[in-house]
Each structure stands twice: as structure tokens, then as C-alpha cells.
Symmetry: C2
Subunit: 184 residues, 2 copies
């Protein structure tokens, strides 16, 4: 079964991409390291060599999201005034979802990934900060509900088959428009 694989970093990236495809199709619990190896056409040991557990693999998948949120918060904190901060965060989140559609979807919809996120303190802390920034001080029920709807809707929009045929630039503009209708 085992095909020749490239350099260590390349194998790692291919494992992550394949795992993500399978997570989107079957959920995290429905995907084993063996299935990832089979889909990729490598020995299971090749996967284990990179990721001893599925949790380690999930953490590697969500790390870039934690990094992106960190950069986003730095930019937002540098913006002048709450309105500008909200705009920076909205634009940053939309870009993140467009760049990482599948990760955004499994991060929101899958209980197994949600548990992994809670176990990644950096990501949990940054997500909470982003949410607090969008809620603002003493948020009304109206704003809480609008943010909950926008957050779930945004995270899942990148993989929604109903939107699959929209060009990325149109999707970007319309997600920004939806965000502004709900949160600005």
C-alpha cells in the first residue's frame, strides 16, 4: 500500500489535508488514523510517525487559526475606536473562513473539535477575546443573538453547498455585508 512520500514537512501537510477532507465528510469521531492512511495511500505508521494521536492532529489543524486570531487581535487593539475595531475583526474573520473553509466548518460543527479547542488554551482565550470585542460592553440580548447567528453562519458558510458556485470575491463582499447588517 505504501507509496513513496516526499520530505517530512510535505508528508505532514498531506496528512493534515487528507484528515480535514475526511473530518468534513464523516466527522472527527467517524475518522480513524487508519482511514487517513488508507485515503492517502501510505502505511498507518507514516501517520503515527507525524501524529501519535488524533488529538495531536486536530491541534495541528487548529494552530493556524489560533495564530490568525492572535494577529487579528493585535490589529484590532491598534485600531482607533470601537467601530474601527469591530470592522477589523469582521474583515479578519471573513478572510480566515475564506482561507480555511474546511477548518472553520469542523471547528464549529463537530463536538470532538470543540473539545480539542477547549483543550488548546491559546485558541480558547483568543476566541473568547474576539467574541467579547464583537459583543462590546454590556451587550443586549439582541446583540448576543445576532452574534451567535453570525458566528455559526460565517463559520459554516465556506463549505455550504448552496454557496459553492459563488465566486470568492462575491462571497467575501456578501459575508461582509451580512456581518455589517447584524453587528455594526
Amino acid at each position: 500500500m505504501a507509496k513513496p512520500v516526499g520530505r517530512r514537512g510535505e508528508t505532514r501537510e498531506r496528512i493534515l489535508a487528507t484528515a480535514l477532507d475526511l473530518f468534513v465528510e464523516h466527522g472527527v469521531h467517524g475518522t480513524s488514523l487508519q482511514q487517513i492512511a488508507d485515503r492517502l495511500g501510505v502505511a498507518k505508521a507514516t501517520v503515527y510517525h507525524q501524529f501519535a494521536t488524533k488529538d495531536a492532529l486536530i491541534q495541528a489543524l487548529v494552530q493556524p487559526v489560533a495564530d490568525t486570531l492572535g494577529e487579528l487581535l493585535t490589529r484590532a487593539e491598534a485600531a482607533a475606536g470601537r467601530e474601527a475595531q469591530v470592522e477589523v475583526v469582521i474583515e479578519g474573520l471573513v478572510e480566515m473562513v475564506l482561507a480555511r473553509r474546511q477548518i472553520a466548518a469542523v471547528m464549529h460543527g463537530d463536538p470532538a473539535v470543540e473539545a480539542a479547542i477547549r483543550a488548546t488554551p491559546e485558541l480558547a482565550v483568543r476566541s473568547a477575546k474576539v467574541k467579547d470585542l464583537l459583543l462590546g460592553p454590556d451587550p443586549s440580548p439582541s446583540r448576543r443573538v445576532a452574534l451567535s447567528v453570525f458566528n455559526a453562519g460565517l463559520m459554516l458558510s465556506g463549505t455550504d453547498p448552496e454557496l459553492a458556485e459563488l465566486p470568492e470575491e462575491i462571497l467575501r463582499q456578501e459575508l461582509l455585508g451580512t456581518a455589517r447588517r447584524l453587528l455594526v
Copy 2:
């Protein structure tokens, strides 16, 4: 392990409620019929007697949603004019999510349930009709994106821990308000 259980219908309802709790916690793939039996304190055979497969159990969970959508479409088709029809559908969907928060969440977030929905033609057809009614004829990209965000956000709002402390009547009003901002 086996505790005495009540009438057939009662046992069936308890199995469905317990399965739903476990699906929300671990995802459908992460939940076995054995785990459902263990959580409920009954023999695995008691679960098998009601549901031969997990798919049969999922279909029993989503059947009331198919029924609700059927009633909703009948009412919408009886309403005069598109605006009134959209309002009937929005109100009906919000009520459905409030009445069946956990089912709505697993129906939207879990690939295993999404596959079961595709295998339940009645539900798939009705969901598509509800979506078409909300989109309207020749929908713009703006409306497509707004509906995608609203749909995912609504389905997951009933189990969002951030909204858990909101009284149901407030949540109902704010979900309706969010729907109207995006879709009316």
C-alpha cells in the same frame, strides 16, 4: 445493568432522548448503541429491540422535523403573497428550533445526520422547498449568503452556550428580529 422499563412507547422515547444527548456531546459517529444502553441503564438488546441500526434511530429523531416542515409548508402556501409566506416560514422555523433545540443542532452540524437526512426523501424535499420559499425567485448572491448564515445560525442557536441563560421568549423575539433583518 438492566433496569425495569415502562411501556414500549415510553422506552422508545427515553432511548431517543438519551441518544440525542449523546449525539450533541460526542457526535453521531462518536456514539454507539451500546453507549446509549449504558447511559440509560438498560441492556443493549432493549435498544436493538426498538432500533435495529443507528440510522433507524436517526430517522426516528428527524421524522418530527419532517412533519413540522410539512405543516409549515401547508400554512405558507395558504398565506396571501410572498411577504406573508416568508413571515410564516420564519416564525415556524424559529418555533421548531426552540421546541427541538438539540435535534436542530445535530441536524445542521453533524455529517452523519446530514447523510441520514439525504436518505429521508420527505425531509430533504421539504427542506429544499422551505429554502426555495425563503430565497424567492431568482435570488441575488446577497440573499443566498444571508439565508445560508441565518439558516446555520438559527439551527445552532438553540444549543449555543452563549445564549443558554436567555429566557425562551427573549430568544424567540431576537431570533425573529435577526431573521427579519436578514431576510425581509
